[in-house]
Symmetry: C2
Subunit: 352 residues, 2 copies
């Protein structure tokens, strides 16, 4: 596997978390070291760390920090950790990986075999590191499972950032591209800039350029034109939550890309860890969609663009219906419609 | 008709042209007075004046300026005016109104009844003023013809700016909304910000707010989500060129909006002067699509967003196939498919 060309997205330093402040990319590579779980929560809210898998990892490490900071009785420790878990779980509503990682950590807290505060603290730290390491391994498996979908010479369009910066390392949609490139396939990547927060322009281009992959940036609304010109052979995106029927919540703008792909007969692939699946939700209509501040739309990187006082609607995600999704690439395999059957035909993968 | 809430987009001051520098909106209302046609050309290139009808008017007035500045013989005058016409016509390739206005001006230059330089100069000035006045009247007719398509309580989505700022006054797509509002209909308008140059965020919101119309700004890629939520009853956009078969070139991002509208059963209307029709082109594939500088994508209002050295593709327009267009609203009537028949079923309207 190709090693990363930059520091890892998020790391555990024994008593602190180190993460790349992604709001400063691509202009500055700023590493933050954080010892307080509340700062982890703030980093998630501010999108310093973002991407569904990466925020799951960040929340787990944040809970480990909260455990280390709690010095009292086992009851005090449990209370402190639950408070931290609640705060971290509430930072962003759409990505299911966040809730999943928090629940895994709470499972350790409730483990009856761990009685002493030190044992619980140690168990929480170990579980958070397991989540971090598993995420790296999941990304590699996603890449390996998806690489066969990419042909030599393909033009691949992606939206937002589903790369190494969205995970502990390597990525989801970009993991597939990286794995295909490692197999010697020539791939040109078209990157939607991804308004409002420009994760495509700022992060995906940066990742791809660091790896020497051919990249062309375009505004989100030009994706359909690139398809009309015959430049796009495949679309590959990540996911923040996948409902039981295969409906996919992902960054705002994914749905119109899927509509355009269907119009042009281009396969639209979703790549995500299997843990992105939320079997509790029958369809995409039940996925909570985060709405963020109007200022993300009315200003660009701090420069105001729209008139003062204008109302703006700023949904962070949209839902792509399963019927537009050619396949879902996960760490445990590639699934195709009907998803309600295929996604549940095999048991959940064991831990990596 | 409602009077404008701001100075007119472009005016003739007898020996100068006054125009709103739209690159400064909405933060500053800057009026430029221009006596040299080369500065008109530069204003068109820099999008200080933009919108297909408005740049046609600007080019006509620019030719009038060139005529006034030419003091020599009739041959020298004709040479000077042709040079100015060539430069102005080449500023932007997609909008057909520009070529149409220039050709009308050249018709005066070639009028055999005008022999003396003063008569030609005067004829050119009068023709440019006629084009300006006709454009105002065309906008009002477009509004009147289209208002019946809008129902009380409608949510209308628009892309880019097809308002008073895109024409001499009043607009095309927005003229329809203004006329509907004047009929007492309640209309909520959803405005795509329209990357890369944010004409929706900067100009359309500003125009609508000045008129007290309910406006919600959204990123371009959220339009499909607004439709999925049932908020959008109609889509209304302008056009830069319409081919013989009804294919429509308009601001980049129009085509994916049309695809999303069809998906949600929402009528997609185009509003434009009949002169936007280019009967010389059988289909949209023949419309030249202007590609602009990468910097418009890699930076936002001068703030760099993408990594240095990234390649960007920046088409200024896209083509929406006629099959996605419910109707084309013009100054001479409302046309429906099949456009090849309907658009040519009636003779070209006489001058206003």
């Amino acid at each position: 596997m190709t090693s990363e060309r930059h520091p890892r997205t998020i790391e555990w330093l024994g008593d602190r978390v180190r993460l790349i402040d992604q709001t400063r990319l691509p202009h500055e590579l700023v590493l933050k070291e954080i010892a307080d779980y509340r700062e982890i929560a703030e980093s998630i809210r501010r999108l310093e760390v973002r991407g569904a898998p990466a925020i799951g990892v960040a929340a787990a490490l944040g809970i480990a920090l909260a455990a280390l900071a709690s010095g009292g009785s086992i009851d005090a420790l449990r209370g402190d950790v639950r408070r931290a878990a609640d705060e971290l779980a509430s930072t962003r509503p759409t990505a299911v990986n966040l809730r999943w990682a928090v629940d895994r950590m709470l499972g350790v807290l409730d483990d009856p075999s761990l009685g002493a505060p030190d044992a619980v603290r140690d168990g929480l730290v170990q579980e958070s590191l397991a989540i971090l390491e598993e995420d790296r391994e999941l990304s590699r498996r996603i890449g390996a499972n998806g690489a066969a979908l990419i042909d030599d010479g393909d033009g691949v369009l992606t939206h937002c950032n589903a790369g190494g910066l969205a995970t502990a390392e390597y990525g989801t949609a970009l993991a597939v591209i990286y794995a295909a490139v490692e197999q010697g396939k020539n791939v040109r990547v078209f990157v939607d800039e991804t308004r409002p927060l420009l994760q495509g322009a700022r992060l995906t281009t940066w990742e791809l350029m660091q790896r020497g992959i051919d990249v062309t940036l375009l505004v989100d609304s030009a994706a359909a034109s690139a398809m009309a010109r015959g430049w796009v052979d495949k679309v590959l995106v990540g996911a923040d939550r996948i409902a039981r029927n295969g409906d996919v919540a992902n960054k705002i703008g994914t749905y119109p890309v899927a509509l355009a792909a269907r119009e042009h007969g281009i396969p639209f692939y979703v790549a995500a860890p299997y843990s992105t699946l939320d079997p509790s939700l029958p369809g995409g209509g039940e996925i909570p969609i985060e709405e963020r501040a109007a200022e993300e739309v009315t200003a660009v990187q701090g420069v105001r663009t729209a008139p003062a006082g204008v109302r703006a609607w700023n949904p962070a995600f949209d839902v792509t219906p399963a019927r537009l999704v050619e396949a879902i690439v996960t760490d445990v395999g590639v699934f195709r419609a009907p998803y309600e059957n295929s996604l549940f035909a095999r048991p959940r993968a064991s831990k990596a």
